[in-house]
């Protein structure tokens, strides 16, 4: 199946938001999604973006039964003002990533989300998206790419391991921790005053 990978434009945020929710449903965590497409637009397409995003598109003749298409409309094929969207293409996947830093090794890229709609899996689109993230990382002189996977998600574990991923939680015992919501606020209130 022919597909294209390109940088997301702010007009893609509604589609990205839709797919973020689909991925959260797949991970059994849909109730945790709080961001809107407006949040995504503000946070990814301002002068100081907090993430970058790649989109995978297929030609319209491959669009899904419910007609998934650019900007969530049921008819496809219009050209955006930015000129970046391809007429006659349907958005079917995305990769969202940002740059991090290792005090041991330097610049890194972290792939936060990689998602391809179920109807379009097994056709190399996920590999294509990830290859582009890898390319961007290498161009920015990153020494590694990191990501996280849920331990029960065997298809994803197999996919990443086949590409050379090493499980650092198993190998070196790294755990993810966080201060969230109320616990973060409580700490913040006790901060030393300027």
């Amino acid at each position: 199946m022919h597909f294209k990978v390109r940088a997301a434009a702010k007009e893609d945020c509604k589609e990205i938001s839709r797919m973020i929710m689909e991925l959260a449903v797949y991970e059994n965590m849909a109730d945790q999604v709080k961001t809107s497409h407006e949040d995504l637009k503000r946070d990814g397409f301002s002068p100081n973006p907090f993430y970058e995003c790649l989109i995978a598109e297929v030609p319209d003749e491959h669009k899904t039964k419910d007609g998934h298409c650019l900007a969530g409309r049921s008819t496809c094929g219009h050209v955006s003002v930015s000129g970046q969207r391809q007429p006659g293409y349907t958005v079917v996947g995305y990769a969202l990533y940002f740059y991090t830093y290792s005090t041991w090794k330097g610049r890194s890229v972290y792939m936060e989300d990689l998602y391809v709609m179920p109807d379009f899996r097994g056709k190399g689109i996920g590999t294509g998206l990830m290859a582009k993230v890898a390319q961007v990382g290498v161009e920015k002189q990153c020494v590694r790419l990191q990501l996280s996977v849920l331990e029960w998600n065997k298809p994803s574990l197999d996919f990443y391991i086949a590409k050379g991923a090493e499980d650092l939680t198993a190998k070196e015992g790294w755990h993810f921790l966080r201060f969230h919501g109320q616990t973060l606020d409580t700490l913040a209130k006790e901060a030393p005053k300027d």
Partner: protein, 174 residues
């Protein structure tokens, strides 16, 4: 110890930062993995596109080897990341206080200041990783309300090294 000072790192702190980074790596039994140089730290933290931000803790009563200035005795390196479900996050990459300065509340004060900065920048969460063998640190964080997402939700951290990245990025295009 209540006379220690917390401030934003400046380019002149880079030699101290590298010293403390190596001390932290030694504490984690991984000192041979530090390949970063002072030049990298300077360019990556204080250049056109900073990849990190840093706080340092100073003990003004100490004298450094070269002059009478304060000695940097702790640091926290952080940057902003993104969770598509909840938005901006503050990610704490490294957090270290020199051994002889522990137990005086310096680490606690650094953590509180980081939390304050996170909330002020509209972050919903502060994330970090800890090695499961590092019980002292895990207890430090858990006492203050941290949740272990690897245990609670099953998240595992993976890395892909540069050689595999190069292989991936030069693969056939569709």
């Amino acid at each position: 110890m209540d006379r220690f000072k917390l401030r934003k790192a400046e380019p002149k702190d880079v030699p101290d930062l590298l010293r403390l980074i190596k001390e932290l790596a030694k504490y984690e039994d991984m000192e041979d993995q530090v390949i970063l140089t002072e030049k990298d730290l300077l360019e990556d933290g204080f250049g056109d596109h900073p990849f990190y931000h840093c706080l340092v803790a100073e003990d003004p009563s100490e004298q450094s080897n070269n002059n009478n200035g304060p000695v940097v005795i702790g640091f926290a390196m952080y940057y902003f990341t993104y969770d598509p479900w909840i938005g901006k996050l503050l990610y704490l990459e490294d957090f270290f206080v020199m051994k002889e300065y522990r137990g005086f509340g310096i680490g606690s004060e650094i953590l509180k200041l980081l939390s304050h900065m996170a909330v002020k920048s509209r972050c919903s969460s502060m994330h970090f990783i800890v090695a499961e063998g590092n019980q002292a640190s895990i207890e430090f964080y858990k006492r203050r309300g941290a949740a272990d997402l690897s245990l609670e939700e099953g998240w595992r951290l993976f890395k892909i090294d540069k050689s595999s990245l190069l292989k991936m990025s030069s693969g056939p295009e569709e």
